[in-house]
């Protein structure tokens, strides 16, 4: 593959003019075209399958475009699809996910930003030890902590409820978010902080009047990171909630992989697409900020 990019190099200044249709360009853009088609294909398959009727699916293949477009599968996936005994579709799961995601995102960002600010500007003795433990905690496989958390939640009466899952997401979001905020606050000019201190502003005064207004981009990054992460979670949902409170990913899996009845592939794909819609929308709207979010903790190392 590296041969492909022979001659690819041009200096940063004054690129030498080259023909649009050189062999290199045909190869480069050809390869990129094939790759992007490959990556885009599953999304295309989801869309076309969800718009076909079952008879049409049985006749054709997964890639063939719909002859007769129908939105029936979408309606069914949303409100009628069955999971075992109940047939409420994905709507319950969707609203559960909304009720889980919104408070989890707000709570985890509030806690992590204040915490990151304390670590960056008001470091106290021993703070680094706890921070190190927190960061290492991010590498511990969740399976190790699954059951202790079941016990904790049971003790405080939140096991099986949406509130319990909100707490779990807040806990597991803490390492990466704290790191994100701490690094950002550390990068702000210290003179600002010192000037505010001279003017008599305290911990919360500086946080609310200087840090937060200066850090809106990083708050947006944290929000994107958390909304997609929490929306896409499956493991915590399946462990800490019950059938009434299952988040959307768990309902989706139950609908599609339910063993009863005839498999309705179009309904399944409509349900899959519906579940993927929220993170996809965020991704396509947020663009570069999404990339910044995933690179935030990583590239710094």
């Amino acid at each position: 593959m590296a041969d492909a990019s022979t001659n690819a190099l041009s200096g940063p200044q004054g690129p030498k003019p080259r023909k649009m249709l050189s062999r290199r360009n045909i190869f480069l853009y050809g390869t990129l075209f094939v790759i992007t088609v490959y990556y885009a294909l599953p999304l295309y398959v989801m869309i076309v399958t969800s718009l076909k009727g079952m008879p049409e699916i049985r006749l054709g293949n997964v890639f063939s475009p719909p002859v007769e477009v129908t939105f029936q599968p979408w309606v069914k996936a949303w409100s009628e699809a069955c999971t075992g005994l109940t047939c409420n579709g994905l709507s319950t799961g969707f609203w559960n996910s909304v009720q889980i995601t919104i408070p989890s995102v707000i709570l985890s960002i509030m806690i992590a930003s204040v915490n990151g600010y304390a670590l960056a500007n008001w470091k106290f003795k021993g703070a680094d030890i706890f921070f190190t433990i927190l960061i290492f905690g991010a590498f511990i496989p969740y399976q190790v902590m699954l059951y202790p958390i079941v016990i904790i939640l049971r003790e405080i009466g939140l096991y099986g409820s949406l509130g319990g899952l909100v707490l779990v997401h807040t806990i597991f979001g803490m390492p990466i978010l704290t790191l994100l905020f701490r690094n950002y606050f550390t990068s702000l000019p210290e003179e600002l902080f010192k000037a505010a201190r001279v003017d008599g502003a305290g911990f919360w005064g500086i946080y609310f009047r200087i840090m937060v207004p200066m850090s809106l981009p990083i708050f947006t990054v944290a929000m994107i990171l958390q909304v997609t992460g929490i929306w896409n979670d499956f493991l915590f949902g399946v462990v800490y909630t019950g059938p009434e409170t299952y988040p959307m990913t768990v309902s989706l899996n139950n609908i599609v992989n339910s063993t009863q009845g005839v498999k309705e592939y179009n309904v399944n794909m409509a349900a899959t697409l519906l579940t993927g819609l929220v993170p996809l929308l965020i991704y396509f709207v947020s663009g570069r900020l999404f990339v910044r979010g995933i690179a935030a903790g990583a590239v710094k190392g």
Partner: protein
């Protein structure tokens, strides 16, 4: 940062209050929870955790269970293939995109969007695409190659590779983005110098650029490896561990033991093994990266 300010013993009260959630999480959940699980992995806990010691019995039974051995084997196969391929693909994609191409944003957006989707969604889509009746297999057969066979999700021998295809599709965008960031961080002078010396491009990549990108490679490696160990949702959605037990993985074994088979002790022992695996990777990395003096501010 904040070291030269005196008399903050009292003022720092707010800071300590702000750090309470972190301290509680670090001590009670991460450290406490981990110790708790390791301790209870030496007990005979069944439906409920109880402290009746059995020594290493749970571990002996674990390593004598076929489902666990299959799970480990799958994790090794998936892990090695994923690791090698995701790096090769991710790096090649990044190198291609780094050629000052037009439509860079479009290409990048399309390659990265799978990463925004959940593993459940990923698994279900690929379950459908790999469906032998309507998916890839039926299409190739319809083209005239009647004997063509590609049904990874229905063939126990290759089912894990079906999962690998989905995993690569979902995860390679992330590696591409990190590698691209690394490539962009390389000084253009390096390229110029290599060109003046007449070193071919591929050699420049392998012998100069990649060694310079070592930090990016290491952090990506840690991210990818911890992701591989956590592999769970994708399996549940795409294959459910089947056909038979051919795509079982350790994370699923833990869940099944703890919450379906009422065999907590086995679950604890299995999760402790997962912890050991991660520790064997993360601790050397941490010593290499942050060992000696702490200078990360």
């Amino acid at each position: 940062m904040a070291t030269e300010r005196p008399n903050q013993l009292f003022r720092n009260k707010s800071s300590k209050i702000a750090a309470i959630p972190m301290i509680v999480t670090a001590l009670f959940v991460f450290v406490g929870g981990t110790i708790w699980t390791v301790v209870y992995s030496f007990t005979k806990s069944g439906l409920l955790p109880r402290l009746n010691w059995v020594g290493l019995d749970q571990y002996e039974r674990l390593w004598a269970t076929r489902k666990w051995l299959v799970a480990i084997e799958n994790l090794v196969i998936y892990g090695i293939c994923m690791l090698v391929l995701v790096f090769v693909i991710g790096f090649i994609l990044a190198a291609l995109i780094d050629q000052k191409i037009r439509f860079e944003n479009t290409v990048r957006t399309i390659i990265l969007y799978p990463y925004a989707l959940s593993f459940v969604v990923t698994g279900l889509v690929w379950q459908w695409i790999l469906n032998p009746e309507f998916g890839v297999e039926s299409i190739v057969r319809a083209w005239g190659w009647e004997s063509f066979s590609f049904d990874p999700l229905y063939n126990a021998d290759i089912a894990i590779y079906g999962v690998l295809i989905a995993g690569l599709w979902q995860g390679s965008g992330l590696v591409m983005v990190l590698m691209l960031a690394g490539l962009r961080g390389i000084d253009q002078e390096v390229w110029k110098a290599a060109r003046v010396d007449g070193i071919p491009t591929w050699k420049t990549y392998i012998f100069i650029v990649i060694p310079m990108m070592r930090p990016v490679f290491i952090t990506t490696l840690v991210l990818v490896v911890t992701g591989i160990v956590k592999l769970y949702d994708l399996i549940v959605a795409q294959t459910g561990g089947g056909p038979g037990i051919s795509t079982e993985v350790p994370a699923k074994y833990v869940y099944d033991m703890m919450f379906q088979a009422n065999n907590l002790g086995q679950g604890f022992a299995a999760s402790t093994m997962m912890l050991v695996t991660v520790a064997l990777i993360v601790i050397p990395w941490a010593i290499l990266e942050f060992g000696g003096s702490k200078n990360r501010g």
